[in-house]
């Protein structure tokens, strides 16, 4: 087990270097200069532009920039400076991550609890009316684009019913975060429901379940312990990768509801050609992905004792 974890952690190093280098090269390949962008329509003093470019190391070859950046990041925990604002990238990340973390965890809770509950319900009644209704609803959730759903929610709940605020003004207010979290969760929720349903429906007919029923165990114990535990493996796999997706992929939702989190910051850094900010954000997202996956793999053993790690 310990060796397995160590090996997994070591594997993170090449992934880490690969992703950051790729991002660096991609941003570099885009036309447009972040420093020149500060000046807008009006031309700036070339001396000031040169001084700024020098300060941010933009006058160096790309690989030297990458080397310096990684060196500072690993040795000093220094993610560089955001060119536009002159603020350390760590500050920018410190502003953005808690916001997205709150939104993502709320969405994650909704999708995990509701998704698994609906999936179990549908799986236990496979083929019957409840099952079909749930399948149709989840199909709808999967097929509606997120921004359409967002607009509908805003229109109905905020503008016509006045139940909720249309936008998030205070990102620590969970009441305001609820609507975007639901919107963000819907697509994943549908997948979780469907995965759980299939898995449960299949396992209900498994030999060990029949044995458990034959032993005379109460239904709640059969479903709760025997069926569920085995059925959750694919669901946990999906939920694990989804944590990363929720953290990084909220660009549309965050834009729609005026949430100033990671998604918006990624978009903004891309538009402004802020390679350093982008790499900083992506680095942390990569770490989130890798750790979530590691956690998922370790959870397998808890759920299914037959799975052992060398």
């Amino acid at each position: 087990m310990g060796r397995y974890v160590a090996r997994r952690l070591l594997q993170m190093i090449p992934v880490f270097i690969g992703t950051t280098l790729l991002i660096f090269l991609m941003v570099y390949a885009l036309p447009g200069d972040p420093v020149r962008g500060l000046f807008g329509d009006k031309a700036g003093d070339p001396r000031v532009i040169a001084a700024l470019r020098h300060e941010y190391g933009l006058d160096q070859p790309i690989l030297v920039q990458y080397w310096n950046y990684m060196k500072d990041m690993i040795l000093h925990g220094d993610f560089g400076t955001q060119i536009a604002s002159g603020r350390p990238v760590t500050d920018v990340l410190g502003d953005a991550f808690p916001v997205t973390l709150r939104l993502a965890s709320l969405a994650f809770a909704i999708e995990a609890v509701l998704g698994i509950a609906l999936g179990v319900l549908a799986g236990l009644r496979a083929g019957r009316l409840t099952d079909n209704v749930i399948l149709v609803i989840t199909l709808l959730f999967i097929s509606i684009p997120i921004f359409v759903l967002g607009f509908i929610c805003k229109l109905v709940f905020a503008e016509q019913l006045h139940w909720l605020d249309p936008n998030v003004n205070d990102s620590t207010n969970y009441g305001q975060l609820l609507m975007p979290a639901i919107v963000l969760a819907t697509a994943s929720l549908a997948y979780v429901t469907r995965l759980t349903r299939t898995s449960i429906a299949e396992n209900r007919r498994a030999d060990y379940v029949r044995t458990a029923i034959a032993k005379g165990l109460p239904r709640s114990r059969v479903v709760g312990v025997h069926v569920m535990r085995n059925s959750l493996i694919p669901v946990i796999t999906y939920l694990g990768t989804d944590i990363g997706a929720l953290m990084g992929g909220a660009i549309v939702t965050e834009g729609l509801f005026n949430i100033q989190g990671v998604g918006g910051t990624i978009y903004e850094s891309l538009v402004r050609r802020e390679g350093t900010t982008l790499v900083g954000l992506v680095t942390i997202l990569v770490l989130v992905y890798l750790l979530a996956n590691l956690l998922v793999d370790l959870l397998y053993a808890v759920l299914d004792p037959r799975i052992r790690y060398a």
């Binding site: 447009g32 500060l38 604002s85 319900l121 538009v271 402004r272």
Partner: protein, 541 residues
């Protein structure tokens, strides 16, 4: 089961939402009465984006930062709505030769930290901002002052740290000497770049940009990045534009659509702009709280004169193209009445604006357009393209302009889309524009020279098209050498009348402010630069 669950969630959320907006609701009730009592200490909120740069006066070039900077700092002079100079921190700015200006300050002004505003506060701030080592994006603005070349030489190390043209006479007096006379220099002084800085600024300029100490009508309270900036009224303020409200909260929005929704639900009080999506309905939604007024900015398309196509072109061809654009229809339909057809190169609200240049090149006339293009030898290649940035909402009108040209004179025209503003700028700077490009100009100071000299002089900072004409250069020189401001204004007006003969660009339309405000506030007015005048806003009880 599912239904029950979601109903419960919504119910909880609704309670929270109601509690949060409780005060908003009661304000709305009294909002119908336009004479409602005013709360002099009431605060209001306004939509802005996150400022790009730290809040140092010489470093805020974009609108999100400059609106905050202007609330915190007051410079020597300002302008009224007709473009006339108003004295602010300055008692007088006198000159006899338009080259040396003597500035006398009103005594008794203080920075927010209690230190006095002196002549030194100005001189030192300007010297600091001009030095390239301090990397202020607006440092170029000091280049008129004598000795700038020593502080910021083209090449090599700076020879001086202070501009020789700035001299402190006594605590409340200093002199500015320019390299050459500029009759309208006082107008430039109204730009926030020329703000004074307190002594504490220099200890840590970076920290000062995060927590600015100014001398303006508002004091800085806090900057919660990407969320809001808060300022409160400065009760010790001596200037004529004392705030009529208790303070301003600059709320951060990433897009205009969400800001508009929040305006309707009472979460934000003043908007600077309405998103295109809401333009067709905003007047209906807001009634007399909808704003629709001119501001001093212009949209043009400029030929890249360095290309093979336009090098040495007969201006008649460009006149013809100009007459092939149906400005009236495009502004009404595609732009939904948010722009006004241009009739010159200087925007409305600027001193020296002329309603008519006595030419018909701005009128849509396909027959005459065809004739002019033919006379001028035709459009080389019979094909043009207009470069624009796809992220700025320009696609629709560029296509409409192209359609109009093709329909009227049969010249093939396409939009040349660049992914975003950065890429667009890069192509312009590198002189890689293929044919024409979209160009715009918002006033820096309300004097017509800003729209003429700064764009069309051969070596002007805003000249990206490569336009160069000895006669225009000479007229600029003459106008700058004028004895008085009025004379200079007149000479620039004559210059503008000459422009149809050279066609440095094709003016399209003037911008308008399309904005709105909530029922909680009154007295919301917009200045020439399109921003609301914060100090005049009153908050209802």
């Amino acid at each position: 089961m599912r239904g029950a669950k979601s109903a419960k969630w919504v119910a909880i959320a609704a309670v929270v939402a109601l509690a949060a907006t409780a005060c908003g609701g009661s304000d709305g009730d009294s909002g119908n009465d336009s004479n409602a009592a005013v709360d002099p200490n009431g605060k209001f909120s306004i939509e802005v984006g996150e400022p790009q740069n730290p809040l140092q006066p010489a470093n805020t070039m974009e609108s999100n930062g400059s609106i905050v900077t202007r609330a915190l700092f007051t410079g020597l002079v300002d302008y009224d709505s007709s473009g006339k100079i108003v004295m602010m921190n300055a008692q007088s700015v006198d000159t006899t030769d338009n080259k040396t200006f003597t500035v006398k300050l009103k005594p008794g002004w203080k920075f927010h930290d209690g230190t006095p505003v002196t002549a030194e506060s100005y001189v030192k701030a300007w010297n600091w901002a001009a030095a390239p080592a301090n990397k202020q994006t607006n440092s170029f603005w000091f280049s008129d002052i004598q000795g700038y070349a020593d502080v910021a030489p083209e090449k090599g190390k700076p020879k001086a740290t202070e501009m020789s043209g700035l001299k402190v006479v006594d605590d409340n007096t200093f002199t500015i000497t320019l390299t050459s006379p500029i009759p309208y220099f006082v107008y430039k002084l109204g730009y926030e770049v020329f703000s004074p800085l307190p002594e504490s600024f220099y200890k840590d300029p970076k920290a000062a940009g995060e927590k600015p100490i100014g001398n303006g009508p508002y004091k800085f309270v806090s900057w919660d990045h990407k969320k809001q900036i808060e300022v409160v009224r400065n009760d010790d303020y001596q200037g004529p534009n004392k705030a009529k409200n208790g303070g301003v909260i600059f709320k951060n929005y990433t897009n205009l659509e969400t800001a508009y929704e929040d305006l309707k639900s009472g979460n934000v009080d003043v908007l600077r702009q309405i998103a295109p999506r809401d333009l067709p309905v905003y007047k209906q939604d807001l009634g007399d709280r909808a704003v629709d007024q001119a501001y001093s900015a212009i949209q043009t398309i400029a030929p890249a004169f360095y290309t093979k196509q336009w090098k040495g072109i007969d201006p008649k061809v460009l006149q013809g193209l100009s007459m092939a654009i149906d400005r009236n229809t495009i502004t009404k339909t595609v732009l939904q009445g948010t722009r006004e057809p241009a009739t010159g190169w200087v925007a409305k609200g600027v001193l020296g604006y002329q309603p008519s240049l006595g030419t018909d090149i701005f009128t849509y006339d396909p027959a005459k357009a065809k004739a002019l293009i033919k006379e001028g030898g035709g459009v080389p290649g019979n094909k043009i393209s207009i470069q624009y940035n796809a992220d700025g909402g320009h696609k629709e009108w560029v296509e409409a302009v192209c359609g109009s040209i093709t329909k009227a004179v049969g010249v093939a025209c396409t939009g040349d889309s660049k992914a975003d503003f950065q890429a667009d700028l890069q192509a312009r700077d590198a002189k890689e524009v293929k044919s024409m490009y979209r160009s715009g100009w918002v006033l820096d100071y309300p004097f017509n020279a800003n729209f003429l000299r700064d764009l069309f002089g051969t070596n002007s900072s805003g000249n990206q098209s490569g336009f160069s004409n000895p006669e225009i250069d000479k007229l600029i020189k003459d106008a700058d050498a004028a004895k008085t401001e009025e004379e200079s204004e007149k000479l620039y007006q004559q210059l503008e009348k000459k422009l149809p003969e050279y066609m440095p660009s094709i003016p399209l339309w003037y911008y308008k402010v399309n904005a709105g405000f909530s029922e909680k506030v009154t007295g919301v007015k917009y200045a020439q630069d399109g921003d609301p005048i914060l100090t005049g806003v009153q908050v209802k009880k």
